[in-house]
């Protein structure tokens, strides 16, 4: 039986999900087995921040899901059109976002910092 792995890409701003897709300087790529176990992690520093280049990277690495902060409409729809799931407007550390995603509870707009309102 083929166990299909999934690949998740998270643009980073230090240890957080990058607040801006188009301004991210590095990314984290996580490979996850079908049972949810993390099989591999890779950090990549990008030569420069660019939404176009980041989209190219997503496609060239066969990424299944992007977890990001703010992303412009055209890039959001482009990735969706290319059958990449995009969970955007996620605010929090990359680890918190990944943990929630692996638990099947992450959705677009989740704010994972403790704060005043009800965020996630």
């Amino acid at each position: 039986m083929n166990m299909r792995t999934k690949k998740i890409l998270i643009p980073l701003f230090r240890d957080e999900v990058a607040p801006r897709f188009d301004l991210a300087g590095e990314v984290l790529i996580v490979t996850v087995a079908e049972d949810g176990a993390v099989e591999g992690r890779q950090g990549l520093v990008l030569p420069h921040a660019s939404a176009d280049d980041l989209c190219d990277l997503v496609l060239s690495r066969d990424i299944d899901t992007v977890i990001c902060g703010g992303i412009e409409e055209e890039y959001y729809h482009y990735l969706r059109w290319k059958r990449v799931d995009v969970l955007d407007a996620v605010a929090g550390t990359a680890e918190a976002a990944l943990t929630r995603f692996l638990a099947g509870r992450l959705k677009s707009g989740d704010m994972l910092f403790a704060g005043g309102g009800d965020h996630a």
């Binding site: 701003f13 230090r14 957080e16 990058a18 607040p19 801006r20 188009d22 301004l23 300087g25 902060g69 703010g70 992303i71 412009e72 409409e73 959001y76 955007d88 407007a89 605010a91 929090g92 918190a96 704010m111 994972l112 910092f113 403790a114 704060g115 005043g116 309102g117 009800d118 965020h119």
Partner: protein, 412 residues
């Protein structure tokens, strides 16, 4: 999950007052604590970002405001949002909750506490979208996409169009046929505050008197249905009379009255109807000559001619001829899906020596014809319309480089 630090308690009553004071400002304001977490956002900033103050409280500002400034500042080594230099009127952009990138201007103020260290930051966000929209409108109207030119003669005209657009004064556009009078009128409308209103073009060619009156002023409902005239159709926008010389003398007095009173009297009625219209008129004839000949009322000429735009004929536009030839060739080659690289030197010489009495419209038609019949990768003389080659043979056109002999044409 770490708990969010709250602002110093001593500030709490002041923050409450601050929120009240800043709440109603039309400019977006965020108050941030020492660690650049959101303390509150006023209504204007909520509307700009799409996030509420309540849900944003305690969140690091970069995740709510998503401002390039915060991320750049952090890269320079400070805390996210800090930067290493004061921020005053810095232009940047944000991405709002609805995934729109919006241009903003940001100013940051530090509010020092006891000991001088900042206890609070206030950031002001000015939405620059309306300004950028206006700049784009003015740029479009300046002819980047419509009135094609490179030479000084036409560039001078294009420079004044945006300024003319901003006033409501009537405009008189003069120029030979095919020089771009219609495009200029549209450019003025698009750059004006009336751009969202209608642009109504009226051809006042020969027509029966009673139909002309209805066309201009409309008709109230009697036996037939009510018909709005061109002034009513253009209400709130621009009315463009494409050939002023076609307006019969009898109606010119009526036009003077409309310009003075800003109202019309529809056919079949004796009551005036107010209209809010900016009038642009054009003529290919010399208006002063028309006045001298008695075919244009002087009072109408003075009202329309307060703002004049004269479009130069193609023969006075020097380098624009080659530029326009190249531009239209690219346009039509693409349209006809042909790979035509350019004009042969001989074809270009022939075209340069043609006087183009029909100006840009004629040039465009010639290039369209040539591109249509050309089956090679270059436009040759054989692809040019017959009348140009005939003029060349008969010697009417000073082709083959007889320098200095022109019909008033200058070459750059």
């Amino acid at each position: 999950m770490p708990t969010a630090p709250s602002p110093p308690d001593a500030l709490a009553p002041d923050l409450g007052r601050l929120a009240d004071i800043l709440g109603g400002l039309p400019i977006g304001i965020a108050a941030l604590d020492r660690d650049h977490r959101i303390v509150f956002m006023n209504k204007a900033l909520e509307e700009l970002t799409g996030f509420t103050s309540r849900e944003s409280a305690g969140i690091p500002c970069q995740h709510v405001l998503r401002c390039g400034l915060h991320l750049l500042g952090a890269r320079q080594g400070g805390a996210a949002g800090s930067g290493t230099e004061p921020v005053k009127g810095r232009e940047t952009d944000i991405i709002d909750r609805h995934r729109r990138k919006l241009p903003v201007r940001v100013t940051r103020i530090e509010v020092p506490g006891e000991g001088g260290a900042a206890t609070l930051y206030l950031e002001a966000y000015e939405d620059l979208s309306p300004l950028r929209d206006m700049e784009r409108r003015l740029k479009d109207a300046a002819g980047a996409g419509e009135l094609i030119s490179r030479g000084e003669a036409m560039e001078r005209v294009k420079k004044v169009l945006p300024a003319i657009a901003q006033s409501d004064s009537p405009v008189l556009i003069t120029g030979e046929t095919g020089t771009g009078k219609d495009l200029s009128a549209q450019a003025i409308h698009k750059a004006s505050p009336r751009a969202r209103g209608p642009f109504v073009r009226v051809n006042l060619g020969p027509m029966p008197e009673h139909l002309l009156e209805i066309e201009l002023y409309g008709r109230v409902a009697e036996e037939g249905e009510a018909v709005p005239g061109c002034f009513q159709r253009a209400n709130g926008g621009t009315l463009y009379l494409s050939e002023l010389a076609d307006l019969p003398a009898a109606h010119q007095a009526g036009l003077v009255r409309v310009l003075d009173d800003q109202s019309i009297i529809p056919a079949g009625s004796d009551k005036g109807v107010r209209v809010n219209v900016r009038l642009i008129a054009a003529t290919h004839k010399d208006p002063e000559e028309l006045v001298r000949a008695g075919t244009l009322r002087e009072d109408l000429f003075h009202r329309l001619g307060a703002v004049r735009v004269h479009l130069p004929p193609l023969r006075e536009r020097g380098e624009d001829v080659e530029f326009l030839l190249t531009h239209f060739l690219a346009l039509f080659a693409s349209r006809f899906k042909k790979d035509i690289k350019g004009f042969s030197p001989r074809a270009m010489r022939i075209l340069h020596s043609h006087p183009f009495p029909g100006n840009v419209r004629e040039l465009k038609n010639i290039v369209e014809y040539a591109a249509m019949i050309c089956q090679k990768d270059m436009i040759l003389p054989a692809h040019l319309p017959g009348h140009i080659l005939a003029a060349l043979k008969s010697g009417e056109s000073p082709a083959a480089g007889r320098a200095g002999e022109t019909r008033g044409r200058k070459r750059s």
